[in-house]
């Protein structure tokens, strides 16, 4: 079956195509060359003057695994307000800030997203993460495994293990948990909290292991670099949410000595202590360093006003945050000598100084960071707000006067201290396509995704060009997943099952000798049962495992 998408305005930053009229041909799930004149075209879809982009990719969204499932369990009131009925081709479920798995898949697809990455998979909880992702229809998924707070790693470091052994352990963990990247959350801090430490700055020592976050960051960034894993270490830094943490963030940016590093939800790490309320924006200073250091990438973690729920592996900081829980209920867990989790419902209020300024800080970061190839659009779903607010966020970035109007409705004091009003930048469609398609695909090493070149997987989203960008991005005209028409005018036409993206770096299997001893002696599952085989993973429902190349 050969399909032609005829006459669309194509935005394909991977190939430098900036709004050019191009026909696109799809066959067997891929984008193919223009066929010879006498080839029969089975279907022509007229997309004249419509905006054509690759399917969007969310590089950081909490959609599957123990943390988000506890979040779901915690807030029945959230679901009750947003019931989702079964239709002839979709399953029932519920929203809103912590939606059920099926609803997650449909809502992403309806917005033109075709791949989503769960950034906080605990190795000890990897099965649950993959099981849930298997129940997220349509979109492809992948997960970043957490390292850096597990006792095995910290023991290796404290004994001065050489980098090679660490690299083997990192690669082994990625294999057995079927991960595509590695994330560290509050490096060493989740572990330190188990020993009753309440704060761990970049150069503080984890009391028990005598290891600093700096050391952990250096070791893990080096490991991923050595292994050739495409996505660099995904870092949720120290001191999340603490006024004054911008200095830690600036120091962290320099801590890895030029190796690639991704700093996630940087908005939550960009706080100063200036002004009478001892809370100020660090966005400008951080953007300046970011712009200069090409080894860094960031995602923002924009906050959106309203009710949400925060779910993080960082239970050291989430424990602190529980005093702000709204409604007043929260969960914290220490998990399996591996990591932790902290779940705190929260309401961001536009009339509250701190929340209003958080909103400004996120937008300042977007607008001051000059390279859309290194900055990704996220709300850290659901931490800053649900992913369904992306169209609104895109409008804020693309429409200065809309942004300005919104700003004027916020807490007055926050309006005074932000420099947002003075920033005129408006993101272009090309830049949006970069930060939501090409750049995440490149960063994750997803070959064949995030672009519209010949041979690419035919994940394609087509919008009607509207002045109101929120409306435009909320409801694409067409969404194709691997060449299949999934969404037409915002309605799901059919559901498919996406695939699982992984990378599998090479390593010395000898590492299992160390691990076997450790598992038998200290842990409560056997080494063999810790591993998720390809067959097991496929049996969950997503039948294809794509292994992307290491570099």
């Amino acid at each position: 079956m050969l399909t032609k998408l005829s006459g669309g305005m194509v935005y394909d930053p991977m190939h430098g195509v900036n709004g050019k009229r191009r026909d696109i041909y799809i066959r067997d799930g891929r984008i193919v060359r223009k066929p010879s004149a006498n080839t029969n075209i089975d279907k022509i879809i007229d997309v004249n003057n419509k905006i054509v982009m690759a399917g969007a990719i969310d590089i950081h969204t909490h959609i599957g695994g123990g943390n988000i499932n506890i979040a779901r369990m915690l807030v029945p009131e959230d679901h009750r307000a947003d019931p989702v009925k079964r239709t002839k081709n979709t399953r029932a479920g519920s929203g809103y800030v912590a939606p059920s798995t099926f609803t997650t898949g449909y809502r992403y697809a309806e917005m033109g997203y075709t791949s989503c990455f769960e950034p906080a998979m605990l190795a000890s909880n990897a099965r649950q993460t993959h099981l849930e992702m298997a129940d997220i229809p349509i979109v492809d998924t992948g997960a970043y495994v957490l390292l850096g707070n597990d006792d095995f790693f910290l023991r290796l470091l404290s004994k001065g293990a050489d980098q090679q052994l660490i690299n083997d352990y990192v690669a082994w963990t990625m294999h057995v948990t079927q991960a595509i990247a590695v994330k560290v959350v509050n490096p060493g801090g989740i572990n330190a909290f188990k020993f009753n430490q309440r704060k761990l700055d970049l150069d503080d020592s984890n009391k028990y292991y005598d290891i600093t976050p700096r050391k952990i960051l250096k070791t893990l960034t080096r490991a991923l670099h050595d292994l050739g894993v495409p996505h660099p270490l995904h870092v949720h830094g120290c001191n999340l949410g603490v006024p004054g943490n911008m200095q830690t963030t600036l120091d962290t940016m320099q801590a890895v000595e030029g190796l690639p590093m991704h700093m996630t939800h940087i908005q939550f790490h960009s706080y100063g202590t200036e002004g009478d309320r001892k809370f100020s924006s660090g966005a400008a200073a951080i953007a300046e360093v970011f712009n200069k250091n090409k080894n860094l990438s960031i995602d923002v973690g924009q906050i959106m006003f309203g009710q949400t729920i925060t779910a993080s592996g960082d239970n050291m900081m989430q424990y602190k945050a529980h005093v702000h829980a709204h409604p007043n209920k929260w969960v914290s867990m220490d998990i399996e000598c591996d990591a932790g989790c902290g779940i705190v419902p929260f309401r961001y209020r536009d009339k509250n100084f701190v929340n209003a300024l958080q909103w400004c800080i996120g937008l300042e970061t977007f607008l001051l960071a000059d390279d859309p190839w290194r900055i990704f659009l996220t709300t850290d779903h659901p931490n800053g707000g649900p992913f369904t607010s992306y169209p609104h966020l895109i409008r804020l970035l693309m429409d200065k006067s809309f942004r300005h109007d919104m700003l004027l409705s916020l807490n007055r004091h926050a309006q005074k201290v932000t420099n947002l009003a003075s920033i005129d930048r408006e993101y272009t469609l090309y830049e949006i396509a970069t930060m939501t398609r090409a750049a995440p695909a490149k960063s994750l090493g997803l070959s064949g995704y995030g672009h519209l070149g010949i041979g690419a997987n035919a994940d394609i989203t087509i919008y009607t060009d509207l002045k109101n960008k929120e409306k435009m991005f909320e409801r694409p005209e067409y969404v194709f997943k691997s060449g299949q028409l999934i969404v037409r005018k915002g309605k799901i036409q059919q559901t498919t099952s996406g695939i699982t993206h992984t990378v599998k770096p090479e390593f010395d299997r000898g590492i299992e000798r160390h691990l076997k001893k450790y598992f038998d002696r200290y842990l409560t599952v056997s080494l063999g049962n810790f591993k998720i085989s390809d067959d097991e993973l496929r049996s969950y429902g997503k039948k294809t495992i794509k292994i992307h190349a290491c570099q």
Binding site: G64, G66, N69, I70, R72, M73, L74, V75, P76, D78, H79, R80, P83, K85, R86, R91, A92, G93, S94, A98, P99, S100, T101, L122, S124, N125, R127, Q128, L131, E132, D135, D151, R155, F193, K194, F195, N196, Y319, A325, N328, K329, V331, S332, M333, D334, I335, E336, C337, D338, I343, R521, Y522, L523, T524, S526, G528, N529, I532, E536, S539
Partner: protein, 460 residues
């Protein structure tokens, strides 16, 4: 008719449902016989087998399959022996107690569930894929879903959904807990290997030594022998009635918060014991408070669990502490998780309106059956053969581990395989963090719950 008469004879004469060969001949045909028995004298050993028979999911079992019969060679416990070594009878599906083919039974089950205005799908002793299939069927038939352990689970869930908690997991307990306080449970009556696997360990990641833990029991008639350390140190036992557990926890909470107790309802002696205990809790580096919702008396359990969880939160203001819930055997934790990620709610969801509607009280199995709101029931019990569904006059479809008893009473009965014995799968552990894979260790030809439910769904 003949079949029926003989079946009822079998029913009366068998104490366990291990069928004697002669009786088997008399009442059931075995079309699968030749292929589902392993060749005689063939022996195979399986290592790292996960035991599905309680929510500790011990995964160190060494199992031998000798001509289809399983024997535990290493590790395990009496519960595991009962579960793995039970010789399941070779039986056929039945409709109204009469043998049928699997196809007929599936068609009849589909008819019952398809016709029903308000079916209930419950029991749900099954693995993750069985729970997923049950949810899918519930959506299509507009059913209520609940679990056999729902009454206990809901006590925990109510505490979670009103105030939350701070919990830990089994590996954390094993490596960090220098003090373990059992409240209303001894930890091992329903979780037999709890102490052997997690408490009396040689060493730990945090430097905690083998005999160094303090064990405390609060409750009535608890079996405290397991709490004696390998070097003979006795546990602390605080006796109190089941009804006063919550109050005792509240007293400890008050004392830990630095307040004094003026209540007359507590004896001076007990108060002094509790004061000493509070002092030690304050100085422990990682005390873990263990409860089992199913072992608390229902009228008081929610309050007791709530008190424990608030106590733990308060302790964490200055030092570390955590709770651990023992619950969710019979696939319970797995069902709660699947139900949550698919519907948004952990259990007791009704799909009649096309979307999940949650009511943790009114959609309890006993409530629904008692008020005759349901007009058909699907009961699933793939771990326990003789877990009999609740009495009801409405048509009942039963899927269970092969059971003569169940075969006789249900309108439609379909014997199913046991996850971790007859087919692979996975289950969640009591701590709600770990999920373990199950192996297939024998060939009986019985299909999994998810296979049968999908086939029923295909007929709708």
């Amino acid at each position: 008719m003949r079949v029926n008469i003989i079946v009822s004879y079998v029913h009366r004469t068998l104490t366990h449902d291990v069928i004697q060969p002669a009786q088997k001949q008399a009442c059931f045909r075995y079309p699968f016989f030749s292929y589902f028995m392993a060749p005689l004298n063939q022996s195979k050993t399986f290592k790292d087998v996960t035991c599905p028979f309680c929510s500790l999911l011990c995964d160190d079992i060494v199992l031998n399959n000798q001509s289809g019969g399983l024997t535990i060679r290493q590790n395990g416990c009496p519960k595991a022996v009962r579960g793995f070594q039970r010789q399941d009878p070779h039986i056929q599906p039945t409709i109204h107690g009469k043998e049928s083919t699997l196809d007929e039974a599936i068609a009849h089950a589909a008819e019952i569930l398809g016709k029903a205005r308000q079916p209930i799908i419950t029991g749900l002793g099954t693995d993750v894929s069985g729970s997923r299939a049950a949810m899918s069927l519930a959506e299509i038939t507009g059913a209520i879903v609940d679990h056999s352990h729902g009454d206990a689970a809901v006590k925990n869930i109510m505490v979670l959904q009103t105030s939350g908690w701070m919990l830990t997991t089994l590996s954390e307990l094993k490596n960090r807990a220098d003090m373990i306080i059992f409240i209303g449970t001894d930890g091992h009556s329903n979780y037999p290997r709890f102490y052997d696997r997690f408490v009396w360990q040689q060493d730990s990641l945090s430097g905690l030594k083998k005999n160094a833990r303090e064990i405390v029991y609060i409750g009535n008639k608890l079996k405290t022998l397991k709490g004696i350390s390998p070097d003979g140190k006795k546990p602390t036992v605080i006796k109190c009635t089941d009804e006063s557990l919550g109050e005792t926890v509240s007293v400890i909470r008050t004392l830990l918060n630095g307040n004094d107790i003026t209540s007359k309802s507590i004896s001076n002696r007990k108060l002094s014991d509790l004061k000493k205990l509070s002092g030690r809790i304050k100085h422990a580096s990682y005390p873990v408070f263990v409860w089992a919702a199913g072992e608390l008396i229902p009228a008081h359990s929610e309050l007791t669990i709530h008190s424990i969880c608030e106590l733990v939160k308060e302790l964490n203001k200055s030092s570390r502490a955590a709770g651990l819930s023992l619950a969710g055997s019979n696939g319970g934790v797995s069902f709660l998780n699947v139900c949550t990620w698919q519907s948004g709610y952990p259990l007791r969801v009704n799909y009649t309106a096309g979307y999940p509607h949650y009511d943790p009280y009114n959609y309890a199995t006993t409530e629904v059956l008692g008020k005759t709101e349901a007009d058909a029931m699907l009961w699933v019990s793939s771990f326990e053969a003789d877990f009999i569904p609740p009495q009801t006059s409405i048509p009942t479809v039963v899927l269970s581990r092969p059971s003569i008893k169940n075969a006789l009473d249900a309108e439609v009965y379909i014997p199913v395989g046991t996850p971790g014995l007859d087919h692979t799968g996975n289950l969640f552990r009591t701590d709600n963090a770990v999920n373990l894979p199950l192996k297939q260790v024998r060939q009986t030809g019985y299909q999994s719950v998810s296979d049968i439910l999908s086939r029923i769904q295909d007929r709708l």
